[in-house]
């Protein structure tokens, strides 16, 4: 099976920032997805622990891609004037966090938690392809439901949503004024 590794590296390289999905790989390599996941897991472990390499394999959602290791960052920045100074605003991060943890979720639900209007922010996040519409809730006004995208997972280095940092647990207060968990 190891002779597939160079081929996989080649495919990931050509695909670039889009990456390749598990199902695409499984189709072209003619190998079933379960075996492929196993193969990819061990390949990724070996790949990412090889210190002679300048590249790293990422898995997000069910896509794989190659990126440079962090050590090359400052050099690449020098070379390309990269604009990695780009940062998310607190408002963007909060909105993304709510969607990621509560998805699928409507705009109104997000606004209830944040206490401010999120209309513009949602449109910006849609435009950045970090969230997507996944249908409508069957209620008055048929509001859109939002979920995060694969791009979101890639942007925040998540293999799956289960890798999201744990949400802090606080006791909430019941109506009787008692605390419950």
């Amino acid at each position: 099976m190891n002779d597939l590794r160079p081929i996989i590296e080649g495919i990931l390289f050509v695909s670039g920032d889009e990456g390749v999905s598990l199902s695409q790989l499984s189709e072209v390599l003619v190998i079933n997805e379960d075996s492929l996941v196993e193969l990819m897991d061990s390949y990724m472990t070996d790949y990412n622990s090889d210190e002679s390499k300048g590249l790293e394999m990422l898995c997000y959602g069910k896509r794989y891609k190659l990126v440079t290791k962090a050590i090359a960052h400052s050099y690449c920045q020098k070379l390309f004037e990269e604009t990695s100074g780009k940062q998310f605003s607190q408002a963007a991060l909060e909105t993304l966090a709510i969607i990621a943890y509560k998805q699928p979720v409507t705009r109104v639900e997000i606004e209830e938690i944040r206490g401010v209007s999120c209309d513009m922010m949602i449109r910006k996040l849609l435009a950045r392809n970090l969230i997507k519409e996944v249908g409508r809730l069957d209620t008055i006004g048929k509001p859109f439901l939002y979920e995060v995208t694969e791009d979101f997972m890639d942007t925040f280095s998540l293999t799956s949503l289960s890798e999201l940092p744990e949400l802090p647990e606080y006791q909430t207060v019941s109506e009787e004024g008692e605390l419950f968990y």
């Binding site: 390309f80 604009t83 993304l96 938690i113 109506e175």
Partner: protein, 238 residues
Amino acid sequence: MEFFVTIEQFEGPLDLMLHLIKEKELDLFDLDINILTQQYVEYIHAMEQMKLDIASEYLLELATLIEYKSKKLLPNEAAELDDNYQQQQEVDLVNRLIEYKKFKEVSIKLDDLYQERNLKFDKPQSEIVNQWIDINENYESTSAYELIKAMNRCLKRFQLSQPYEVNITQKRISIEDRKKQLKINIKKFNEVFALSNTMYDCRDLYEVVITFLAILDLVNENVLSFTIKDDEVYFKKV
């Protein structure tokens, strides 16, 4: 009372309340809403006096808090039902604050993940892929967001490919360095060459001027001699 934090620094009324709770060392989990309300009202008033625009969300929350406070101040003749309503309101506010606080905290962790990921670069899809895609099929209907995604890729790449060479020209070559370059370049030239020959690699006026000054220097140092014929200046290696 002085306020050092302006309202623009908050993500909304809940964020402001959390700030006040922290600043006044109130206990979120055993919150005295009277104190919070008082702090909030003072803050909003101070901001208003500073003629800052205050978004309607803050004012809405202000109205709710004032309603709450005024009801508490009223003589307790109202029905018990109102009492329950009071308590419910209090519980609701605290729970909203707790819920908001959770997401505020986790968004900081998300930002850490982003910063980490940000240190790793992607590469664009290889151009060779274009040769493999047969685009003469009927296209499936596609979301307009695919377009913006594509545009984003272009713009990002456009920035990435801002030619590094531009930076080098901005560094501005010195006359001394240009002289060294010229000495190498003229080895490839004929015995006699025109001034324009020496300018072939100049990319802007600055470099033309520097080259001319360097040439003058080389003449001065007796590396080159010159003659003028028609409108062109010719040089000869000495």
